[in-house]
């Protein structure tokens, strides 16, 4: 049953990707990329990664779509049809895909007991969370307590990204210059 659901979701994901490549109306493309995010979120739920699914649904389907809509409002609403069909991009994409699939052959099976993920620090976190932190959601315990430094780094990255966007796009400098009046 789980395999069927996973396969179904993966095929829907591939179908959406193909549709994104073929559709020329950019509004539809933005909506389809939202669909991609939702499908990925469902896949994460099937893999029991609820927190990741949550983030994917909120950021991928929610915020990204809005920002993409904002972007196409500033640029164009239709993609120009390509004049000639070139095979180089297709070859590059196929090659990369094949390399990635080849890479997964060496990976441990999903949920395998003896994989490095399960044998390194994972058991330690699982064991210590109920004793030392006593929060039911171990993901929160790992993110905010055991690996608090990492999360501080992530927040700093978000902070820097916001700073960059404000400085580059929001036109604060322009407004201030105009406020000073003609000189």
């Amino acid at each position: 049953m789980e395999l069927t659901v996973t396969l179904l979701l993966f095929f829907a994901l591939v179908g959406t990707a193909v549709a994104i490549a073929l559709v020329r109306n950019l509004f539809a493309v933005v909506m389809l990329s939202g669909v991609t995010s939702l499908l990925s979120a469902l896949l994460f739920i099937v893999m029991d990664a609820v927190d990741v699914a949550f983030t994917e649904a909120a950021v991928g389907a929610g915020i990204s779509s809005v920002l993409m809509l904002g972007t196409i409002a500033l640029t164009a609403r239709h993609e120009k049809a390509p004049k000639r069909i070139s095979l180089v991009p297709l070859a590059v994409v196929s090659l990369t895909g094949m390399v990635l699939i080849y890479g997964t052959l060496d990976m441990p099976n999903f949920g395998a007991k003896d994989s490095p993920v399960q044998t390194h620090v994972g058991p330690d976190y699982l064991q210590r969370t109920p004793e030392e932190i006593k929060v039911p959601n171990i993901v929160t315990a790992v993110l905010a307590s055991f690996r608090s430094w990492d999360t501080l780094g992530e927040v700093t990255v978000v902070f820097t990204a916001g700073l960059g966007v404000i400085l580059l796009l929001s036109g604060l400098g322009r407004r201030r210059r105009r406020g000073r009046g003609p000189s």
Binding site: K134, W149, V165
Partner: protein, 145 residues
């Protein structure tokens, strides 16, 4: 979107529950899925929805740029200051055990403070990016869609 009566009414009904859900995700992150990142995004989405339907000008009156810009820094400061407080209380940086007489309660308070910092920064950054993108002309005409 002045003439979209249904959108305006539905937005008015939806914004409140979305904000409430954001707060739930923020403060219930210890017990269920979620946490600061998701809560910040959900909280920002409520404001964006308002901005899309009731025009950006209305939203900017409600949440001016300078508040958003300060919130970006306040969130990060809250996170860092939690670490500094634990330093001054005799622990390591971000070692919440020293925040309370019982170690695991200290952990709870530390996690809540830190997640709040994450939530505030993510919320403000999302809103700032939205302002930066949507605040640039040309404004969209309904007929263009």
């Amino acid at each position: 979107m002045e003439h979209h009566l249904i959108l305006r009414v539905v937005t008015k009904i939806l914004v409140g529950p979305i904000l409430l859900y954001g707060l739930y995700v923020q403060f219930h992150g210890d017990f269920g899925p979620g946490g600061g990142f998701q809560a910040g995004v959900i909280f920002a989405v409520a404001f964006m929805l308002y901005g899309i339907v009731f025009s950006l000008r209305e939203l900017r009156k409600l949440v001016p740029d300078w508040i958003v810009h300060q919130l970006i820094a306040i969130g990060l400061l809250l996170y860092t200051c939690t670490g500094l407080v634990t330093l001054f209380l005799g622990g390591n940086f971000l070692d919440y055990n020293v925040l309370w007489s019982v170690a695991y309660k200290g952990q709870h308070y530390g996690i809540i403070a830190v997640e709040l910092g994450v939530g505030i920064t993510v919320f403000a950054v999302m809103l700032a990016i939205y302002y930066a993108f949507a605040g640039r002309p040309p404004q969209l005409d309904d007929k263009d869609w």
